[in-house]
């Protein structure tokens, strides 16, 4: 589904991604872990099409297409979804109107007619129930005045609305208490199918107790320095990143 080959990217002339290789197949959940500042969010942003990051080398193939040639809205309609580490507040735009526009555009891309108002409201209600989103949120402006937990839940709700092929969850666990974490993880698990895939970015292994990955990568200093199974998360939990850092610093 997704094939990243030797991807390099910089911001303000500073190289952040220094040759990333990663392949994600349908049905898989990958976790990307790593210390702060190692480039996890940058990778997510580059995949979503953020233009402040300049791709200086490498390729990204998504469902057989050159992803880097697509603008962000096209990537979304093709099936990429980024749950932001810091969801943006949009005063004056209600979640309902926002999702209405997004779902419209996704349907248009698939050659489907827009839903009528009552269909749309029913669809939204269904998805809200699925991710246990508080009903009060829908009349409010997107993320405006939301608590950290509400913002993260709102990301998962949007993901449910758009049913992406590849979801990239950037630190969706950070700032959540254990109950909120369970709700968020639950939502992600419910949305998981054999056809879609997810990349779960996290700093801590805690989330991985609830969203169980098939493969874990450690990103450090713009490179994936280690890849392994579930046991890698437990190892990191025990010993921290120091060993991996030392080893990587020797190699590069």
């Amino acid at each position: 589904m997704l094939k990243i080959t030797n991807l390099k990217a910089e911001v303000d002339g500073k190289e952040i991604l220094r040759g990333i290789n990663l392949e994600v197949k349908p049905g898989e959940i990958h976790a990307i872990m790593g210390p702060n500042g190692s480039g996890k969010s940058t990778l997510a942003s580059v995949l979503a099409g953020r233009d402040i990051f300049k791709v200086t080398g490498g390729k990204v193939e998504f469902k057989g297409k050159n992803l880097l040639n697509l603008i962000p809205e096209e990537r979304s309609r093709e099936g990429i979804f980024l749950a932001f580490q810091y969801p943006v507040e949009i005063p004056g735009v209600s979640i309902t109107n926002f999702m209405r526009a997004a779902v419209d555009e996704h349907r248009k891309h698939k050659g489907l007619d827009p839903m009528n108002a009552s269909q749309f409201l029913r669809y939204m209600k269904e998805k809200k129930a699925l991710v246990e989103l508080d009903a009060k949120l829908e009349g409010r402006a997107v993320n405006e005045g939301f608590s950290g937990g509400e913002k993260k839940k709102n990301e998962i709700f949007q993901m449910a609305m758009l049913e992406p092929d590849l979801a990239i969850l950037d630190e969706t666990d950070s700032g959540l208490d254990i109950d909120a974490l369970k709700v968020v993880a639950n939502g992600v698990n419910k949305l998981k199918t054999k056809e879609n895939a997810a990349i779960v970015i996290t700093h801590y292994q805690r989330l991985l107790d609830y969203i169980v990955p098939d493969i874990i990568h450690v990103l450090y200093n713009g490179r994936i320095v280690k890849t392994g199974g579930r046991e890698l998360a437990l190892e990191l939990e025990k010993y921290g990143y120091d060993e991996i850092k030392k080893e990587a610093d020797k190699r590069f």
Binding site: I90, G92, V93, A101, L162
Partner: protein, 446 residues
């Protein structure tokens, strides 16, 4: 005529041989003389620096005729309800044609100010020329000297009206450019509550210049909502003076939408004549091409315990220029004044300009006065966020711009009018030109 004011002939000559002016002879005489001396505002005139008066004088005008407006032709003004109470003026003259008589008891008057001078002589003479000398300028003096008619709305004590009163001005030329003046008087008597929807439109595309004054009196405990719509075409200049006199306990809530006009200048002057009164001024302007919109606001907190609030938002496109000046004066004994001011602007191009400046003059010490001004582009983070959900850039921008104006439009408390304004804003933000949207004959639902 003095050398400097040779330009005055543009207007004065139009009136030679005519009579029937609005102001009493003695007042007029002073104004006529003063007009001869007063300086035309230019880029050195305090409070007028950014407003270009020159183009107004590049045209020859006529006063236009009393032409017909068939209310059936006003379908495109979807906020207007012909079954409601309204006064229509064409080229500044009261139009009585097939307009139905206001259907009101309680001695409410809605009609021509000139006519009302005969039926309500005392009420009018007491209020017609109490404008503070501070607000006097070239154009207000021109109006004092030569205005012939306008709308008069008088709602006597204790009357509460649920339906809005419409004051509608049309410019209509049969041939050539129109110079129009109107002088409106709105009196909200003690304990009254009502809404006014005051609109300006063009029915023709020749150049026009409209010089208006509206004097508004909010008497004790009056609750007045005043919605002003400026939609004369983009070959129209409009200089509009709105003077508000707020008595004890009164509330004046206003919303001004400046949608069209090549050059529009709004002079607001609000004065608290007594305590515990409130004035809320909200405004939206969306100039395009080479339009200029200049809002000059002056609030005189002459008395203690009053509240004023200004919220003006602009979206400025192409090479348009917007000016916002928010002046707040707080007198020495106007303690417990609460005054807030905010001006926010979005510039859509590198050529669009905004000149925004607060001017606070505060002589009392126990007051709350806040002001803030922001100018920027659309929030790039929000745009990217929306795009990652599949919303294309253009649609996302439109949504963000509508959202930017929403807190102002949401406060329009007259449903049909609010819908009309939202409709125009949507169309405008989707790229339709202001002139096509302001043309009265367009079909709004298609």
């Amino acid at each position: 005529m003095t050398q400097t004011n040779i330009k005055n002939k543009t207007f004065v000559d139009l009136y030679s041989g005519t009579e029937d002016f609005l102001l009493p002879h003695t007042v007029r005489k002073k104004s006529v003389n003063l007009f001869d001396k007063i300086k035309l505002p230019d880029n050195k005139t305090e409070n007028w620096r950014k407003f270009k008066s020159e183009p107004i004088f590049e045209h020859h005008y006529s006063l236009g005729k009393k032409l017909n407006v068939d209310t059936k032709d006003l379908d495109s003004l979807s906020f207007f309800e012909p079954s409601g109470n309204y006064v229509i003026l064409v080229n500044g003259f009261f139009y009585s044609g097939n307009v139905k008589k206001p259907d009101l008891n309680n001695n409410v008057f809605i009609g021509s100010l000139k006519d009302a001078q005969k039926t309500h002589p005392e009420i009018i003479s007491d209020r017609l020329h109490v404008q503070n000398a501070k607000t006097e300028n070239y154009f207000s003096v021109l109006n004092d000297a030569y205005a012939k008619d306008g709308a008069f709305v008088y709602v006597p004590e204790n009357v509460i009206l649920d339906e809005p009163i419409y004051i509608m001005h049309f410019i209509q030329s049969d041939n050539g450019n129109i110079f129009s003046q109107n002088r409106n008087l709105i009196i909200a008597g003690k304990n009254t509550a009502f809404k006014i929807i005051h609109t300006y439109h063009s029915l023709s595309s020749d150049f026009s210049f409209n010089n208006s004054i509206t004097d508004i009196f909010a008497d004790e405990n009056a609750q007045l909502e005043y919605y002003l719509f400026e939609g004369e075409g983009n070959t129209a200049a409009h200089i509009n003076h709105i003077n508000i006199n707020s008595e004890k306990g009164s509330s004046f809530k206003s919303n001004i939408v400046t949608f069209c006009g090549s050059a529009v200048r709004n002079n607001f002057y609000a004065e608290f004549k007594n305590e515990h009164a409130a004035v809320d001024l909200q405004g939206i302007y969306m100039p395009d091409k080479e339009q200029t919109v200049d809002n000059f606001i002056e609030i005189n907190h002459a008395k203690p315990n009053c509240r004023s609030n200004q919220v003006f938002k602009g979206i400025i496109d192409n090479k348009a220029v917007a000016v916002f000046t928010g002046k707040v004066f707080v007198a020495r004994d106007a303690q417990k004044t609460d005054s807030a001011q905010s001006n926010q602007n979005l510039l859509l191009t590198d050529y669009a300009r905004i000149h925004s400046r607060p001017q606070l003059e505060i002589y009392a010490d126990d007051v709350i006065c806040s002001h803030g001004s922001t100018t920027g582009q659309l929030d790039k983070e929000a745009l990217f966020y929306m795009k990652t959900r599949g919303v294309p850039e253009k649609r996302a921008k439109t949504m963000l711009m509508k959202a930017f104006l929403r807190d102002v439009t949401d406060k329009i408390n007259a449903d049909r009018y609010r819908e009309y304004v939202n409709f125009l804003i949507s169309k405008r933000l989707k790229g339709q030109s202001p002139e096509s949207l302001c043309a009265v004959k367009v079909c709004p639902s298609c």
